[in-house]
C-alpha cells in the first residue's frame, strides 16, 4: 500500500500505538515475557497519567476503570471530549444521548424461527440486564426509555436454528429499543439481526451465551440514508461458550456500534468480525471491547472497512483488556481500511491493555491503504478494465469478512450492496 490515512492517536493507544506515527504494518505477538515487561506501566501508571478527570474520578483511559451503570444519571452529560466520544459528532446524534427517547421504535419481525421463541416482556423482567450493563450514556439512556424488551431464546441442546430478526424503522423520532438473545446451554445457532428503513434509534442488545453454547450473530446496519443509530451489543460468554459476532454496516447517516464481550467462565471464545462501507457524508463508528477477566479464553477481532466520497468518516477503536486474573489468554485484533477516494477519513485505534504476563499471546494490527490512480494504472496495464479493477480491489479486500458469514442469502445481498456502492464511484 502506498499512502496511509490512518489517524492513530498515540496518547491513548499505549501498546496499540506504533512507533511510527500514523502507520502500523503488523501487530507484534507479545510473548508472555514481553507482556510481563510492559504490563506494569499499562495497568498502573498509564491509568492515572491519562485520566482526563472529565467525569468525576473516572479514569477513562483504561477500560478497566470505565463506568458502567443501568442508570443514565450515573453518566456525566456528554461534551464530546470523552475518551469514547471524541470521534463521534454529537450534533448528528439526533439527541439520542440527551433527549427523552419517546418515538416509536422500529417494528420487529421474525423469520425462520423453528425452535427459538420470541417474547415481549416488561423491562422489569429478570432476564433483562442478565447479560450486560450499559457502558456509556447513550446505552443507559436507551435502557431508561425502552418501553419493553424482546426476548429471543434458543433452547438448550438445539442445533441448526437460523433465525432472522428484522427491525424496520418508519419514524425519525428518537426512540429506544431493547432485546435479549439467550443461547441456552449447548445450543448451536445463527441469529441475523437486520436493520432497515429509517430511524433515530438507541438500542441495547444483550447476548447471554450460556455454557457450551455456540452463537453466531450477524448484525446488518442497512438503514436508509437519514437513519441515526447508536447500538450497544453486550455479550456475556459462558464457560466453553463461543460467540461469533459479525457487524456489517453500510446504511444510515451516522451509526455508532459498540459491541462488547465479557467472559463469564473459562474456555470461552469470541470472534468479532466487522465490515463497513462508508460513502460521502456517512459517519460509521465501531468501538468494540473484549474483556478478558477469566482464565484460558480466546478472542480474535478483525474489522475491515472501505471508504469513498467526501467526508466519509469511519472510526474503529478496539479495546482489548486482559485483566490480572485472565491467565492463558490468547487474543488478537486487527483493523484494515481501504480508502478509495480523496476526502474520506479512517480513524483506527487498537488499544490493548495487558495486566498479566501469563498469557498465550496478544497482538494487534492496523493498516490503512489508499486505492489510487497508480493502482488503477497497474491493473489496467494488464488488460483489466477500470470497473473490473475497482471491483477486484474492493471485493478482494472485503472478502475475508464476507466469507465468514456463511449465510448464502446474506453473502449475496452483500455482494450486491458492494456492487451498488461501487457503481456510485464509477459515475
Amino acid at each position: 500500500m502506498t499512502d496511509t490515512a490512518t489517524h492513530l492517536t498515540g496518547e491513548k493507544a499505549r501498546i496499540g500505538a506504533p512507533s511510527i506515527s500514523g502507520f502500523t504494518e503488523e501487530g507484534e505477538n507479545l510473548s508472555p515475557l514481553n507482556a510481563a515487561e510492559v504490563s506494569s506501566p499499562i495497568g498502573g501508571d498509564a491509568v492515572k497519567a491519562h485520566s482526563h478527570g472529565g467525569g468525576a474520578g473516572i479514569p477513562d483511559s483504561s477500560r478497566a476503570g470505565r463506568k458502567t451503570s443501568y442508570n443514565v444519571e450515573d453518566f456525566p452529560v456528554l461534551t464530546g471530549r470523552e475518551e469514547d466520544f471524541r470521534f463521534t459528532p454529537l450534533k448528528r446524534m439526533g439527541g439520542l444521548h440527551k433527549n427523552e427517547l419517546t418515538g416509536v421504535a422500529p417494528a420487529l419481525t421474525v423469520e425462520g424461527a423453528n425452535v427459538s421463541t420470541l417474547e415481549t416482556v416488561a423491562m422489569t423482567d429478570a432476564r433483562v440486564g442478565s447479560a450486560g450493563i450499559p457502558e456509556d450514556r447513550i446505552s443507559a439512556n436507551a435502557w431508561k426509555h425502552a418501553a419493553e424488551a424482546k426476548i429471543v431464546t434458543i433452547p438448550a441442546n438445539s442445533t441448526g436454528e437460523q433465525v432472522t430478526l428484522t427491525y424496520t424503522g418508519t419514524s425519525l423520532e428518537a426512540a429506544a429499543s431493547h432485546m435479549v438473545v439467550i443461547a441456552e446451554a449447548n445450543s448451536e445457532s445463527v441469529v441475523v439481526i437486520d436493520h432497515v428503513g429509517s430511524a433515530v434509534l438507541a438500542q441495547n442488545i444483550e447476548f447471554d451465551i450460556r455454557q457450551g453454547a455456540k452463537l453466531t450473530v450477524i448484525s446488518l446496519q442497512a438503514w436508509a440514508e437519514e437513519a441515526i443509530h447508536a447500538s450497544s451489543h453486550l455479550a456475556k460468554v459462558g464457560k466453553d461458550a463461543h460467540l461469533k459476532h459479525i457487524a456489517v454496516t453500510y446504511g444510515g447517516n451516522l451509526v455508532r456500534m459498540t459491541p462488547s464481550a465479557h467472559f463469564d467462565g473459562e474456555g470461552g471464545e469470541v470472534e468479532l468480525f466487522g465490515l463497513y462501507f462508508a460513502d460521502a457524508g456517512q459517519h460509521l463508528e465501531h468501538r468494540l471491547f473484549v474483556d478478558h477477566a477469566t482464565e484460558n479464553c480466546k478472542s480474535n477481532v478483525l474489522y475491515k472497512g472501505a471508504l469513498q466520497g467526501k467526508d466519509a468518516h469511519t472510526v474503529w477503536v478496539g479495546d482489548v483488556l486482559i485483566r490480572k486474573e485472565a491467565k492463558g489468554t490468547n487474543s488478537y485484533e486487527a483493523n484494515r481500511n481501504l480508502v478509495l477516494t480523496e476526502g474520506a477519513r479512517a480513524d483506527s485505534v487498537p488499544n490493548l491493555e495487558i495486566e498479566t504476563g501469563l498469557i498465550d499471546g496478544a497482538g494487534h494490527a492496523s493498516t490503512t491503504g489508499r486505492f489510487d490512480d497508480e493502482h488503477l494504472f497497474y491493473l489496467m496495464s494488464r488488460g483489466i478494465d477500470e470497473k473490473t479493477a475497482r471491483r477486484l480491489v474492493v471485493r478482494g479486500f472485503l472478502n475475508e469478512i464476507v466469507q465468514q458469514i456463511r449465510v448464502p442469502e446474506i453473502e449475496e445481498r452483500l455482494a450486491e450492496t458492494i456492487e451498488r456502492e461501487l457503481a456510485a464511484t464509477d459515475s
Binding site: 502506498t2 488488460g383 473490473t388
Partner: protein, 252 residues
C-alpha cells in the same frame, strides 16, 4: 509479423512550474522477434517513453504518433493497449492492496485473452512459470507486489510477461535490483517468451550485463528526450567504456 511504430513523439507533463516537454521527437520501429535496447543517462526520458506507450495518464502526447500494425495506439485506453498485445514491465511495480496474485493473474489473463483460461492448465502454467523464475509458491496467495522486495517485484513482472504472452514487451530497467542469479533467471524468462511468442522487446537498461543474456539487435542511445545515436550490440560496449559524455558535450 507485427510492427510497433513510434513517429516523432513529443510528450510533456504538467508540473507545478507549468508544462514541461520531456520527449522531444522520438522515432522508433520495432518488429516482432526483434530486441531493441535503450540506454541513456538518468532523467533522459526512457521511463517516460515506456509509460507513454502503456498509456499512463500523467503523460500528454503533444504531437507524433504510436501505431501497432497501423492501429492508433494513442486512441486506445490503457487496458485496450494491453489487450492489443503490449506489456510494460515497470521500473517500479505498484503494490495493489486487497488483491491476491492468484486472483490478479487470472483476471488479467481472462481480460487479455477474452476468455477465462481453463482452470487446470492455467494452474499448471502458473506453477511452472513460477518455478522457472524461482518464485516461491506462497507468493500466489500474497497481495499483488505487497511487501515484495525490489528483486521479487521484477521477477513477478517477468512472470506476467510469460503468462500473458504479449506481442511487444517494454522492460524498464528490469535488471536493476536483481542479484546475479536472478538476472540470469529473469533473462531466461524473457528469452523464453521471445522464442515462444515471437515477441518484440524494448529493453531499457543502464548496464551491458543483461545484454550478455538478452542479445539486442539494435542499441539506441537516449539523450535529452531523443534518440541520439543507433547501432548494433557493439554500441552498448562502447557506451560502457566511454559513458555519455560525447553526447552531452555536443554543442547545440
Amino acid at each position: 509479423m507485427s510492427t510497433l511504430e513510434i513517429k516523432d513523439l513529443h510528450v510533456s507533463i504538467e508540473t507545478e512550474q507549468g508544462n514541461k516537454e520531456i520527449l522531444k521527437g522520438v522515432s522508433l520501429v520495432i518488429k516482432t522477434g526483434e530486441t531493441h535496447a535503450i540506454m541513456g543517462p538518468n532523467g533522459s526520458g526512457k521511463s517516460t517513453l515506456a509509460s507513454t506507450i502503456a498509456g499512463h495518464p500523467r503523460y500528454t502526447v503533444t504531437s507524433g504518433s504510436i501505431t501497432l500494425d497501423g492501429a492508433d495506439v494513442l486512441e486506445m485506453s490503457v487496458d485496450e493497449r494491453a489487450r492489443a498485445g503490449m506489456f510494460l514491465a515497470m521500473q517500479y511495480p505498484v503494490e495493489v492492496p486487497g488483491v491476491s496474485m492468484t486472483n490478479f493473474l487470472r483476471t488479467a489473463k481472462t481480460a487479455i485473452d477474452g476468455v477465462a483460461p481453463k482452470l487446470r492448465t492455467w494452474t499448471k502454467d502458473v506453477k511452472t512459470a513460477m518455478e522457472a523464475l524461482k518464485i516461491d509458491a506462497e507468493f500466489a496467495s500474497r497481495n499483488v507486489n505487497e511487501g515484495f522486495s525490489g528483486g521479487e517485484k521484477k521477477r513477478v513482472e517477468i512472470l506476467q510477461l510469460e503468462l500473458f504472452k504479449p506481442k511487444f514487451a517494454i522492460l524498464d530497467e528490469t535488471d536493476s535490483g536483481l542479484d546475479v542469479d536472478a538476472l540470469k533467471v529473469v533473462s531466461e524468462g524473457v528469452n523464453r517468451a521471445q522464442e515462444q511468442n515471437e515477441m518484440g522487446t524494448l529493453l531499457i537498461t543502464h548496464y551491458t550485463r543483461i545484454l550478455r543474456y538478452i542479445k539486442p539487435d539494435f542499441v539506441h542511445v537516449f539523450v535529452d528526450g531523443k534518440i541520439a545515436e543507433q547501432g548494433g550490440a557493439e554500441l552498448a560496449d562502447r557506451l560502457e567504456e566511454e559513458g555519455y559524455d560525447r553526447f552531452l558535450n555536443v554543442p547545440a
